[in-house]
Amino acid sequence: MNPLTIEERQKAFAIPKKQEVIERQKLPVRYHVEDFPIEDRPRRFLQAFAAILKHSNYRFVLDHYIRTSAKCSRCTVQCQVYEATKDLRDIPCYRSEMLLKVYRRHFTVAGLLRGRLTSDPGLTDEQIQEMARAFYDCTACRRCQIECPAGIDHGLVTHLGRYILAEIGIAPRALVVSTREQLIGETKNTSAIPLPALTDTIEFLEEEMAEIKGVEVKFPIDVEGADYLFIAPVSDFLMEAETLMGIACVMHAVNASWTLGTNNYDAINYGLFYSDHVLEKVLLNMEKEAERLKIKKGILIGECGHATRSARGYYNTYAKRYPLPIINVMEYTWDQIRAGKLKFDRNMIKETVTYHDPCNIARPGWIIEQPRNIIKYFIDDYVEMSPSRRNNFCCGGGGGTVSIDEIRPYRTTIGGRKKAEQISKTIKDGKAHYIIAPCANCKKQLRELIEDQKIPSTLVGLHDLIYKAIILSDDGVAWHDGNN
C-alpha cells in the first residue's frame, strides 16, 4: 500500500471540532458527540459495563478471550485501517486489549486482587477517551477474525466497547440523531423523509418506469395480507432510485405479492453499530409493521448489508409475536431467475463489471454466490476483485462510520485506502466500468472514495443494472419461459 503523504495525513486526522467543544467534552475524537455529563466518567463506564455483562451474553466471551489471546500479531496484516495508518494503536488486537484490560482489572477476581495489592486506581478517563477514538476508527468489518488463530472476534469486542460508550453518552451524533428520528421522531426514519415526500417519490419512480420500460410497474403500499413486506434502507429513496426501480421491476415481472408499509419504511438499524438496545427497538418496530399488515411469507430487505445482517441476525431474536423469515432482495431475485421467471436483454450491459462484497452479508458467508450468479446470468463481462467473498476488503465506511459526514476525509484516505487500491487494480487489469455494491452504506462510501481518490468508474447497485436489462412483457404479465 502506498504510504500516506504528509498532506493526506493532515487531512485525514484533522479534528473538525472547535477546541472549546473538545475541552468541554474532554473527548478529542474526530466525530461529533452530543453534550453529556463528563463527571465521574470512569465510574459510569464501569457501571454500564457491569450492567451489560449482567444482562447479556458477553461475559463468557471476554473470559474466554483473556485466556486465549496469544498476541501473535497476525491481525496486523488483515486490518486495512492499520495498514494505512501504521499506527500501532490501530492493530485490532491492541484495540481489543483496551477493553479486555478493563475487564481483567475490574471484573475478574485476579484483577481485583492485583488492583488492591498494587494500588492500581483502575480505569481512567484517558483510557475512555482512547477507546472512544479506537472503537470508531475500526470499521467493524471483522476481517481480522478470519486469520486470528485464537478465534478472537475483534469486531465483537468493538461492538461491545461502543455499546458501553453509548451508555455513558459517547456515540457519534450522526448516528444518535438519525436513530432518535427513527424511533421517536415524526417521520420514523433515519433520513427524516416525511410520508408525503415518500409517496411523491414513489409516484415519480412509477412514472419513470412507465416511461422507460413502457409498462405500468407499481410500488404497492400498505397492502394487507401481502406475502412480503419490503423495507429498504430509506436513503435509497433519496439516492438510489434505480436500485428501487430494479427491485420493483423484478417484483412486477414475477407477479409478486409485496408491499411497502407507511408506518415503517426504513431498514437502517444503527443499533448494530452502537447499541443492542437500539437494535432491538428498531426491529420491534419492524415486527409491528409486519404484524399490522399481516405479512404472510417474510420481510424483504433491500440492497443493504447492515440492514440485512441486523434483521436476519436479530429479528427473530426480538420479534416473538410475529416471527418471519428475513430475505435479502438479491436472494429473492436469484430464486426467481432460477425458477425461470425473469428475462433480460443480454446486450444491454456491454461494459465490464466487478462486484464488491459488503462485509455484513459476505463475512458470515450468507450472500456471496447469489449476486454473482445474477450478474453472470445477464452480463458477459465480469471480473472478480481480489481478495473477494468472505475475505473481501471493507469499503472503508463500515460500522456506521459512513454516516458520519465529518470524518469523510478519514474514511476516504484511511478506511477506504485499501479498497481504492483494489478497485484501481481491478479497473486496470479488467477495465471494469461498473462497480456493483449492493449496500446503501458501501454505495455512499465508495462513491465518495471514487470521487476523492479520482478513480474512473461508476458505482451502482445490482438492481440498477437489472433495471437496465430486465425485459417486462407489454401486458405486464410475467415471463415464464426462463430462456435468455
Binding site: 486465549t68 447499541s275 416473538k320
Partner: protein, 234 residues
C-alpha cells in the same frame, strides 16, 4: 540430588500434573458452560454450527492458514506447536515412564524423529522470541508472559535433548535431568493460568465468538433499567 530428583519425578510431578489437568478442565468447563448458557439465553437458536465447526477444524489443523498472514512467523509457530505437542506425549522415555507408572502406554516416536523435533522446537522457540522482541507490532501487544513462554518452554526441551544424548551432557546429566523435571513441572502448573490454556480452549474459540453474537431478548431494556435510563428514549 537424588532425593530432589525423586521428589520432582514423584509427588511434585503428580501434584503439578493434577493442577494442570484440573485447571484446564476448569477453564474448559467455564467456556463450555458459557457457550451452553449463551445458547439458552439467546433470543433465537439459529446457530451456524457447521460453519463454526469447519472454522474450528481449519484452525486445529491450520495448514490452510499458514501462508495467508505473516507466513514466516506462522510456519515457525506451526513447527513449534508440532514439537510441543508430540515430543512430551510420544517420546520413548516418557512413554516408558507412563507404562511403569500407570500400567499402560501408547506408541512412541523413534528417537531420531524425537531428536529432530526437539531441535526444531528449540530453534522455533529462539526464533519466536527474537521475532517478538524484533517487531514493534509484536512488542506493543506483548505482555511479560508472551516473552517468558518461549524461553521457559525451551528449557525442558534443551535439557531433555542433553539427557537423551548423554555424550552431550557428559558429567552434567543429573543437573540436566533435574532442571528438565522441575522446569516441566513449572510449565504444567502455569499452563491453566496463562495464555497456554489455549491448548485446551482453542477447540471452543469459534463457538465462543459465534455464540457471542447471539443476544438475549430484552437485554437492552434490562440494561437500561439497571442504569436507570428506561425512560430515556434514545
Amino acid at each position: 540430588m537424588e532425593s530432589w530428583l525423586e521428589f520432582g519425578k514423584g509427588p511434585l510431578f503428580r501434584l503439578c500434573f493434577a493442577l494442570m489437568v484440573l485447571g484446564l478442565l476448569r477453564t474448559f468447563s467455564f467456556s463450555l458452560l458459557g457457550i451452553i448458557g449463551a445458547y439458552r439465553k439467546a433470543g433465537d437458536k439459529i446457530v451456524p454450527w457447521g460453519d463454526l465447526t469447519n472454522k474450528t477444524i481449519s484452525w486445529l489443523i491450520p495448514l490452510g492458514h499458514l501462508w495467508k498472514a505473516r507466513p514466516v512467523y506462522s510456519f515457525i509457530s506451526f513447527i513449534w506447536h508440532i514439537g510441543l505437542i508430540l515430543v512430551p506425549l510420544f517420546l520413548a522415555a516418557h512413554v516408558k515412564l507412563w507404562k511403569a507408572s500407570v500400567g499402560f502406554a501408547w506408541f512412541n516416536l523413534p528417537q531420531r524423529v524425537a531428536d529432530i523435533l526437539t531441535l526444531t522446537t528449540i530453534t522455533a522457540a529462539i526464533l519466536l522470541f527474537v521475532m517478538r522482541i524484533g517487531s514493534s507490532e509484536a512488542r506493543i501487544l506483548s505482555r511479560k508472559q508472551d516473552y517468558f513462554w518461549p524461553l521457559l518452554l525451551a528449557i525442558p526441551f534443551v535439557t531433555g535433548f542433553l539427557c537423551a544424548n548423554v555424550s552431550l551432557s557428559a558429567g552434567g546429566y543429573e543437573a540436566c535431568i533435574l532442571i528438565h523435571i522441575y522446569s516441566a513441572n513449572l510449565v504444567m502448573v502455569l499452563i491453566p493460568f496463562t495464555k497456554v490454556a489455549h491448548c485446551m480452549l482453542l477447540p471452543l474459540s469459534q463457538y465462543v465468538s459465534g455464540l457471542g453474537w447471539k443476544f438475549p431478548r430484552d437485554s437492552g431494556d434490562r440494561v437500561a433499567a439497571t442504569l436507570g435510563k428506561k425512560e430515556m428514549p434514545v
